[in-house]
Amino acid sequence: MAKSHIELTINGKKVEALVEPRTLLIHFLREQQNLTGAHIGCDTGHCGACTVEMDDMSVKSCMTFAVQANGANITTIEGMANPDGTLSALQEGFRMMHGLQCGFCTPGMILRAHRLLRENPAPTEDEIRNGIAGNLCRCTGYVNIVKAIQYAAAKINGTPFQEAAE
């Protein structure tokens, strides 16, 4: 069965590759591109640990073939820091608000939150919780993840960060 030639942009870099059509995007990123930030949690489309940004969508890369990303613009956690290497607002938020414990879900959470804030720059707590409904975290209980996203929204909007009441 013929391999497919794909061309895409990953974290701002043009990439060309030959892939078997059955290669899932998560395997392509982790094994062919050595971008191991996106994780495989459930492998069934439920947990969101494999979430990456693809053409203005958050997608579960365990449920997407690499050939479906032909021509796409992809961002993974490896492309989330500021160009000068400092942490982006979301990364800083997760650090400051203790939005992670083991960190397994974090790359997916940050990529999902990234798209959420693009579409809704000042989300309510409810909108944040609904927005990350496809990302599971077994450690934090989500409270600090919500705060981390609120922190990032405030930083991006230049508004004061108000910690939600416990």
Binding site: M1, A2, S4, T44, G45, V59, F65, G134
Partner: protein, 288 residues
């Protein structure tokens, strides 16, 4: 979990896709968003030798109003169903239902056409399309034809689509601006298929129900159109006795499986509860 090997095709037009499917035969399958098919391929419940990806066909996407109908292209995503202002104005129950499908990530890629063509009784949009009286436009090697949503579903993963036919668009009659609607879904958690769900669209005048349509999700091999139950409501004030009788009639046509979502008897009762709640909310939204 890695799917079996297949060859990948990405035609640029419906004609090319139909020709490819005809040439490749039974071992070829259509790929839309992939969010129902890829899970089946990963568990090897499906092992197609060819996938024909419809994502390169531009005119399969989009939402437009044509006369007294809304026409939705098959490759329109579930996310687009939620974010379309025009659709929200004319048939708001579609966005309300779509918000209860899976999670945000799945809805960016999962398509409207894939959801209705898949034939999985757990999908949420088919019962809604039966409730709304939608018509499916399909194109195949013998040309184009139309199939009523209410005639489309024949069994689990078994529909009126012939092999090689592509669902291109769905036409939905725009309900009266005064209509009331609601989709109620019982699920165990985000990203779960329904234990039971009900779609209700009604119109009211002078406190009496003048029309009613009810669809039920995941309580049989196919989505259900509860036409007898709906007919029992017309002419009533939706008083308790009439609603009780209609709920009993709807429960009577369910045939759910006992599974991890609960025993069959429970799921039948939950279909009744979802219908009752949807009716209440639809009534509060209906003008007249």
């Amino acid at each position: 979990m890695i799917p079996g090997r297949f060859d990948y095709h990405r035609p640029a037009s419906v004609e090319d896709a139909v020709a490819l499917l005809a040439r490749l035969g039974e071992e070829a399958n259509i790929l839309a968003g992939g969010h129902s098919l890829i899970p089946l391929m990963k568990t090897r419940l499906a092992s197609p030798e060819h996938l024909v990806d419809l994502s390169g066909i531009g005119n399969l996407k989009g939402i437009s109003v044509q006369g007294d109908e809304v026409v939705i292209g098959a490759m329109t995503t579930q996310f687009e169903l939620i974010s379309s202002e025009e659709l929200g104005r004319h048939v708001p129950i579609i966005a309300e239902t779509s918000r209860l499908i899976a999670d945000p990530q799945i809805r960016y890629k999962g398509t409207f056409g894939g959801n209705v063509a898949n034939g999985d009784p757990g999908n949420d949009l088919p019962a809604l399309m039966m409730c709304l009286g939608a018509t499916y436009a399909v194109t195949g090697p013998d040309g184009s034809r139309e199939i009523a949503a209410r005639d489309f579903y024949q069994g689990a993963y078994f529909t009126a689509l012939e092999h090689g036919e592509i669902l291109t668009a769905v036409r939905i009659p725009i309900p009266s601006p005064d209509h009331g609607y609601a989709y109620e879904k019982l699920k165990r958690k985000v990203g779960d298929y329904a234990t039971a769900a009900a779609a209700v669209v009604i119109t009211m005048a002078d406190g009496k129900c003048t029309s009613a349509s009810i669809g039920l999700t995941n309580v049989s091999e196919t989505p259900l159109w509860a036409s007898d139950a709906a007919a029992m409501l017309v002419g009533t004030s939706l008083d308790k006795a009439s609603v009780d009788a209609a709920v009993a009639a709807a429960e009577a046509i369910t045939e759910p499986a006992s599974d991890m979502r609960g025993p069959a008897e429970y799921r039948t009762k939950m279909a009744g509860v979802m219908m009752r709640r949807a009716l209440e909310r639809a009534r509060s939204r209906a003008k007249g």
